[in-house]
Amino acid sequence: MDVLSFIFALGLGFGIACWACGTLLDKSNNIGDSTGTKDTYGVHVHFTCERRLGNNETNTFCANHDKPIEGENNAPRGSELVHRLSEEELERYKPTAAEEAAAAGTLRNTVEDEFSIWDSQQPSGDFKGVFKPLDKEE
């Protein structure tokens, strides 16, 4: 029994010493080891779903809740060097009305909404209005 007590005491003793020395070393020699946190940047995470998963859901949860961001790809990308965008470039990468509406979370329920979005997406040529969707009265 004494041997067992000694083994446990040895483990606990050197465990405590290891933890204490590690903590002291961290405080002494590891200076400024921190980065900006959520609070630094005022990041608020908004959760839309939080629940315990069944065994059959672990592989499907991500796919079911995958939510691509509208206009995610409508931005300069790839190996191009980052630079201040010119007026023309900003215009080119500007989100469309549909994307803006989606980003704002508005629902396009009314026919008027559909018309105004469709109009805004048309090129300013002679074909404007040719393929316009049917008016609700028509």
Binding site: G15, W19, F61, H65, I69, E72, R77, S79
Partner: protein, 408 residues
């Protein structure tokens, strides 16, 4: 190009203490916004030529070397492909490579140095003097090189969505079982600074945070006088990846905090990020202090705005081991004194009628002791590993070259 004193035509240098441009020769001071240099437009066309063009050689040592002419003495200044301001090695005057910060390449904001060189060294000494495991030679270090460098950053806004599966251990009756939790949601990053210099690792630069964005001022090249600076050389992929990593970290941290389980880890995720086109180009200040120790170069970073010191310093291994052994023996003796009379009571089978429940309780105590031993060792070893990782970062050759390989 250097900004010259209106009174004596000597090159002006920005003084972080007074936040004004100072003339070392006649003592005049000027607010950066007061200075209007007539030569600035002309200098926009003065390019730095590649060393290969100038010397007609394609030697490897001249790769990424550019030759610029000192505006004051006409001497040749050798700079790398991303330097925007430096000091002339011949006359010591500050020089700004205007062509690299002109027009569309011009940063929108700058955070002027608020910490002087002397203050930065003092802050480092204050920090390291307290360290019991820091060798005396380091405590009395004499800086080999101290450079104030403006690091380019892109300040980004971004939208982020993610759905994660978290695996964790939950207590169910007597046992712990593995359970899975799902969290889906979104977050917005606002004014997140992302290091735009490839030569400096993101790991080092992120430790300089936080920077007070409210201290940003509209860019004026006069703030560069007397300091070194680099221009952005990252791609859209780099910025997107860096923003994604940070947002993912914030999201997973919050999601895990909200799950009541132990040994949590994210097993699956599907992140999406949209970095806004409204990125702002800014130059943020940092002091880089290098010193040699046992044949290795160490570089300490100091945030030029807040004075935050960042480094992992070599340790006195002998003292550490001695303390570990002494503490270990002392704690072992103390634990033995407590456990010796306690353990026989815990392990001896009870003849009492409720023996099964009391045996369970004893089993739990023994399991708890074993778990505590393992936990203490893991925690201690992890802390030592963290320190070693940061020492490697401080002794990183890339960060030393980023600091040292500049003129002046």
């Amino acid at each position: 190009m250097a900004t010259l004193c209106k009174n004596c035509a000597h090159a002006l240098v920005f003084d972080p203490r007074t936040q004004r441009l100072v003339c070392d020769s006649c003592g005049s001071t000027f607010a950066p916004e007061e200075i209007e240099s007539e030569a600035k437009e002309y200098r926009q066309d003065l390019m730095a030529e590649s060393a290969e063009q100038v010397y007609g050689t394609a030697e490897e040592k001249y790769m990424d070397c550019y030759v610029y002419q000192c505006a004051e003495c006409g001497g040749e200044i050798i700079i790398n492909g991303t330097e925007a301001s430096t000091t002339c090695v011949y006359c010591g005057n500050p020089n700004v490579v205007f062509s690299r910060i002109a027009k569309q390449k011009c940063p929108e904001y700058i955070m002027p140095f608020a910490i002087t060189k002397e203050k930065a060294i003092e802050l480092v000494h204050k920090k390291i003097d307290r360290g019991i495991f820091i060798p005396r030679a380091i405590k009395k270090f004499k800086p080999d090189c101290v450079r104030g460098i403006y690091i380019p950053y892109w300040i980004v806004n971004a939208d982020f969505t993610d759905a994660v599966v978290i695996k964790g251990r939950v207590k169910q009756g007597k046992y712990y079982v593995t359970r899975y939790f799902g969290s889906a949601g979104s977050l917005k990053l606002k004014q997140l600074p992302i290091d735009a210099s490839r030569a400096l690792s993101d790991e080092s630069s992120s430790k300089l945070e936080p920077f007070a964005v409210s201290h940003l001022k509209p860019f004026d090249e006069d703030y560069l006088a007397g300091f070194y600076s680099n221009v952005s050389d990252v791609t859209y992929s780099d910025v997107r990846f860096a923003a994604l990593q940070r947002a993912k970290g914030f999201f997973e941290e919050e999601a895990m905090n909200r799950v009541s389980a132990s040994s949590k880890e994210v097993t699956n995720s599907c992140p999406h990020i949209k970095v806004g086109n409204d990125m702002a180009y800014a130059m943020l200040p940092a002091w880089f202090i290098t010193f040699p120790y046992k044949g290795k170069h160490n570089t300490i970073l100091v945030n030029g705005d807040t004075g935050k010191v960042v480094c992992g310093l070599p340790w006195r291994k002998g003292l550490f081991i001695a303390l570990l052994v002494i503490l270990g023996i002392a704690a072992t003796v103390a634990a033995f004194i407590v456990l010796k009379p306690m353990l026989p009571l815990l392990l001896t089978p009870s003849s009492h009628k409720h023996s099964s429940s009391s045996n369970d309780g004893r089993g739990k105590i023994i399991a708890l002791i074993i778990a505590a031993i393992i936990g203490l060792f893991i925690s201690g070893v992890n802390k030592v590993r963290k320190v070693i990782k940061n020492i490697k970062l401080t002794q990183d050759k890339d960060i030393f070259n980023f600091t040292k390989k500049r003129q002046g």
